[in-house]
């Protein structure tokens, strides 16, 4: 009976997908929703392909999953991923539908799945991944994720015991997950830019979990990411099995030490958080058995998806549209750090309000007080545009951050804000939330329209 129900669900899910594609919809969630409605144990009933890789964590899930899927494909594996879909149970169910034929037989070699950390409880225990990468755990949306300890407890409870973990040794929050599981750690050695005391507004792991003493750091990268130790009881961060020992931006390459041997790989993206994502993918797939040559060759041709980062050249100006995830103060802080430390005369256009909440509710903006907007207080950042319904909250936040009032432009309407934007700069940053991507693309078009079309060309990245 259970199998019959499964096949009905599978066929209905495949039919729903075909129909939606015919109607030119993305069909990333609904087919999975159909499957789970008709067969609540769809995950358990689906025959898995030989290799199942999952990626979860607060930040970097999408980028890491995409890299893993691309690297596996480059290595000759046939892969299904939820790359264009949702990372909750319905999106994963849709991916499972794609991974099998109409008689339920696996038709691919591997699944590479991004899994929402809160929804992991509805997914991981049923699909039993061979590998799970946990990129990191930070505070995220208050409404959805409450706090990192809440998410840690979910993962710690629901990760299957037989799943091999790939963990970030520099993240004390996530590296302590499921100590009974087999695991490998990745880490980045001390960098010239590291510090020993936190310069960020928030550090979600500043106190020793054993004795409450304030943790100290051999090096601290950002927030709680670094190598910590307790001066009182000896508690300390794990060591990396895959250690990034050299980050050479000039040569565009990283060196990874594993089992006493160093391997060199090209850097996919310069932002440090993306270097972590790349390192996670290298650790996972090296542990899985792919060769350095295969990985290095494939990484050489990779970029970060345009929905996350896109550069367009317009005359002497480079317009950079990049994501600064709203309601995720750490992700947003990473972007502010990146923008703040870039070179050249810059304008920054911030439109990170939540698109859904602005429609029929009112976004709680407590999170912006956890974001390091202080990084934007730079002499060569000439102007900061604060656009969207919460712009007056941002204005106060920027003033408290020490940013001079004369640099701020406050405008609830994003399109009107373009008119007063200082475009005579080297770099123009358009920072948007995941939910405002479509709006940001329209704003980007309006910004680009003021530059002569002949001068516009998209940069390679």
């Amino acid at each position: 009976m259970a199998r019959l129900r499964y096949f009905l669900a599978l066929w209905a899910s495949k039919a729903a997908y075909a129909l939606l594609r015919l109607l030119k919809h993305n069909a990333t969630m609904f087919p999975g929703q159909v499957a789970l409605t008709l067969c609540p144990d769809y995950f358990a009933q689906t025959r898995k392909c030989p290799h199942v890789f999952c990626v979860t964590g607060t930040n970097g899930k999408t980028t890491t999953t995409n890299m893993v899927a691309d690297l596996l494909t480059a290595a000759g594996y046939k892969v299904v991923s939820n790359r264009y879909g949702s990372n909750i149970n319905t999106g994963v169910a849709t991916a499972l539908t794609h991974s099998v034929g109409i008689f339920g037989k696996p038709k691919v070699d591997a699944l590479a799945l991004e899994v929402d950390e809160k929804f992991s409880r509805k997914i991981l225990p049923y699909i039993h991944p061979d590998y799970l990468v946990v990129t990191n755990l930070f505070r995220d949306s208050i409404k959805r994720n409450a706090h990192p300890e809440f998410i840690f407890n979910i993962l710690n409870t629901y990760i299957p015991k037989e799943t091999r973990l790939v963990l970030n040794a520099d993240c004390l929050q996530s590296s302590r997950l499921c100590p009974g599981n087999e695991r490998v750690f990745f880490a980045i050695d001390k960098l010239p830019t590291d510090v020993t005391a936190c310069v960020n507004l928030i550090n979600d792991f500043s106190v020793c979990p054993e004795c409450d003493t304030k943790l100290e750091y051999e090096y601290l990268r950002y927030h709680h990411i670094g190598k910590a130790y307790c001066p009182k009881c000896g508690f300390r961060s794990f060591d990396g099995d895959y250690r990034l020992t050299n980050l050479d931006y000039d040569a565009g390459q990283i060196t990874v030490l594993h089992d006493g041997a160093e391997s060199v790989y090209p850097i996919v993206n310069r932002a440090l958080y993306n270097v972590y994502n790349e390192l996670a993918a290298i650790a996972l797939l090296t542990d899985f058995g792919l060769s350095r040559e295969t990985l290095a060759k494939a990484l050489g041709g990779m970029g970060v998806t345009e929905t996350r980062y896109k550069e367009t050249k317009a005359g002497k100006t480079v317009l950079i549209r990049t994501m600064a995830k709203g309601q995720n103060s750490v992700s947003c802080s990473r972007t502010m750090d990146f923008v703040g430390h870039e070179s050249g005369e810059r304008s920054v256009f911030i439109m990170v309000d939540d698109m859904y909440e602005r429609k029929d509710s009112h976004e709680f903006i407590g999170w912006i007080w956890d974001v390091d907007f202080e990084f934007l207080d730079q002499p060569d950042i000439r102007q900061i545009i604060l656009a969207g319904p919460r712009c007056y909250d941002y204005q106060l936040r920027m003033l408290v951050a020490g940013i001079p009032a004369e640099k701020l432009v406050v405008e609830p309407d994003e399109f009107k804000a373009v008119d007063v934007m200082d475009k005579d700069v080297d770099k123009l940053y358009l920072l948007h939330d995941t939910s405002t991507l479509d709006l940001a693309i329209e704003v980007e078009k309006k910004i680009l329209a003021v530059f002569p079309a002949a001068q516009q060309r998209e940069a390679a990245q």
Partner: protein, 241 residues
């Protein structure tokens, strides 16, 4: 003026740190002391004018309770004497009679108030989260804010409540009031930048602390943000989810 910020290393979720960051700008002459979790509170050995505590995780609530329980009498003495306490988010639960967990067990609170904080579970066994915008009143003052929590405070009488609810979630579902007050002890489930969102309440606190004709930092900006928020909360929008 001496202000003690208790345990900012763990009581710092959701932008709660913004309150004291902004408050300091309004009273640059104040001495502000941050007391980390591993240290003995300053209020035990000297008088302070104001003590603040912000939102924390549920496990840190327990750690804080373990540290403060031995000092219940001193806390009661300070409260009776009129020391200002600002307790935001779930930190105010620490000052109630108890925190009741979903399995029925209780953690003994400091007992400054008689309410019990009660947690519940969702159908699939997670702590149940309650999120709501808030619009209320404090005397003539209109208060705006937000709550997001795993528990409700049950057993608060209207007489000891802090705010009247106009819209949104009060101390418990259906309650027409929110938070607690005793003398100058102010406890509210409203969290994050509560002071930053309520400039009139900042002035009120400054007045309690003896500041004549209080001036707010970036007064035009904080007032504008407040007025825009107040107007939006008065519209027919979704408050709870």
């Amino acid at each position: 003026m001496k202000i003690e910020v208790l345990y900012p290393d763990v009581c710092c979720l959701y932008g709660d740190k913004a309150n004291m960051r902004y408050f300091r700008l309004c009273v640059p002459q104040a001495e502000v002391f941050d007391t980390p979790l591993s240290e003995t509170p300053r209020f035990l050995t000297e008088d302070v004018d104001m003590i603040t505590l912000g939102s924390c995780t549920e496990s840190n609530q327990e750690r804080i309770l373990a540290r403060l329980r031995p000092h219940m009498e001193r806390i009661r003495e300070l409260a009776d004497r009129g020391t200002v306490f600002l307790l935001t988010g779930n930190s105010f639960e620490i000052f109630g009679r108890a925190i009741r967990h979903p399995d029925g067990s209780e953690s003994e609170g400091l007992g400054l108030f008689d309410f019990t904080a009660e947690q519940e579970l969702t159908d699939d066994g997670l702590l149940k989260r309650f999120n709501s915008l808030f619009l209320g009143t404090f005397g003539e003052m209109e208060i705006v804010g937000y709550t997001s929590r795993f528990s409700h405070a049950v057993g608060i009488s209207e007489g000891e409540a802090l705010f009247k609810v106009v819209k949104g979630l009060g101390s418990a579902p259906g309650a027409g009031f929110e938070g607690v007050r005793k003398n100058n002890v102010f406890g509210t489930y409203l969290l994050g930048p509560f002071l930053v969102q309520n400039p009139a309440f900042v002035k009120y606190l400054l007045g309690l602390l003896g500041v004549d004709e209080p001036k707010l930092a970036f007064e035009d900006a904080i007032q504008k943000a407040y007025e825009v928020r107040l107007a939006e909360l008065k519209k027919d929008i979704v408050f709870d989810d």
